[in-house]
């Protein structure tokens, strides 16, 4: 994910240390849970000097 964001031109990419247990105990079984899926917060900045718009 970080690579995709960087390739788009962003910098200062930061992933939160906190991970969210998003799918466990959901009313219906989640296929996503099979792959150790977690929620995360992500921050990134478009450079001030960005030339690509």
């Amino acid at each position: 994910m970080a690579e995709i964001i960087r390739n788009a031109g962003f910098n200062e990419i930061r992933f939160s240390e906190e991970r969210y247990d998003t799918f466990s105990d959901a009313p219906s079984a989640s296929s996503a849970a099979e792959f150790d899926t977690q929620g995360v917060d992500i921050r990134a900045v478009k450079p001030e000097c960005a030339s690509r718009v």
Partner: protein, 201 residues
């Protein structure tokens, strides 16, 4: 996270639209993800912000994180919500940016747009609008946005590079992404990437 088009984009979009039409109409039906006030509390949204909102604004919330945990939005900012759903995060954002700011929510599911607009009207939020569109082709001007929020939506796109390229296009220089999404701890095999049920949850 898959980065290439592993499934037919139209088939995937229709499956996702159908799923989220259900979330809009029957939020307590029981999905493979949590919804509503229970989920908001689980993701750390302060009760002081959520408890004041009417049920229609919260019940179809289906995020995976908390974009506001990365910092509040500033008064006067222009904010874009990618995949705004029934408008929960957009509404919180509109209160943070205040009357001098503006929030634009983008979603492809009509039932969600209808519900979000009804909530905004009920709360008399005049700095908030919802537009129909795809996050891979944003109906937003170049360099016009201070911050982009999103919650559990970008993972639903089979073309994430295009999503972030569009985000880059519409942000002002110095503008920021403040998003929540999912990461996988285990490699997802090619067979699973072609499974529509996995894409939708």
């Amino acid at each position: 996270m898959a980065t290439s088009l592993a499934v037919d984009q139209d088939v995937l979009r229709n499956a996702i639209k159908h799923e989220y039409e259900e979330v809009a109409a029957f939020p307590t039906k029981g999905f493979h993800f949590h919804t509503g006030r229970f989920l908001a509390a689980r993701l750390g949204y302060p009760a002081t912000r959520v408890d004041t909102l009417p049920d229609i604004a919260v019940e179809s919330f289906a995020g995976v994180g908390n974009p506001f945990a990365l910092g509040d939005l500033r008064p006067g900012e222009v904010v874009l919500d990618l995949g705004s759903g029934a408008g929960f995060d957009s509404i919180l954002a509109s209160k943070q940016v205040g009357p001098e700011g503006r929030v634009i929510g983008i979603d492809m599911t009509q039932a969600m747009l209808d519900k979000a607009r009804e909530s905004a009207a009920k709360l008399s939020l005049e700095n908030l609008e919802f537009r129909e569109g795809y996050i891979e082709n944003l109906p937003v001007d170049d360099g016009s946005v201070d911050a982009i929020i999103s919650n559990g939506v970008i993972n639903l796109s089979p073309d994430k590079q295009k999503v972030f390229a569009e985000a880059f296009r519409v942000l002002k220089p110095g503008g920021r992404l403040q998003i929540s999404d999912i990461i996988v701890g285990r490699e997802v095999p090619e067979s699973a990437r072609n499974n529509i049920d996995l894409w939708t949850g």
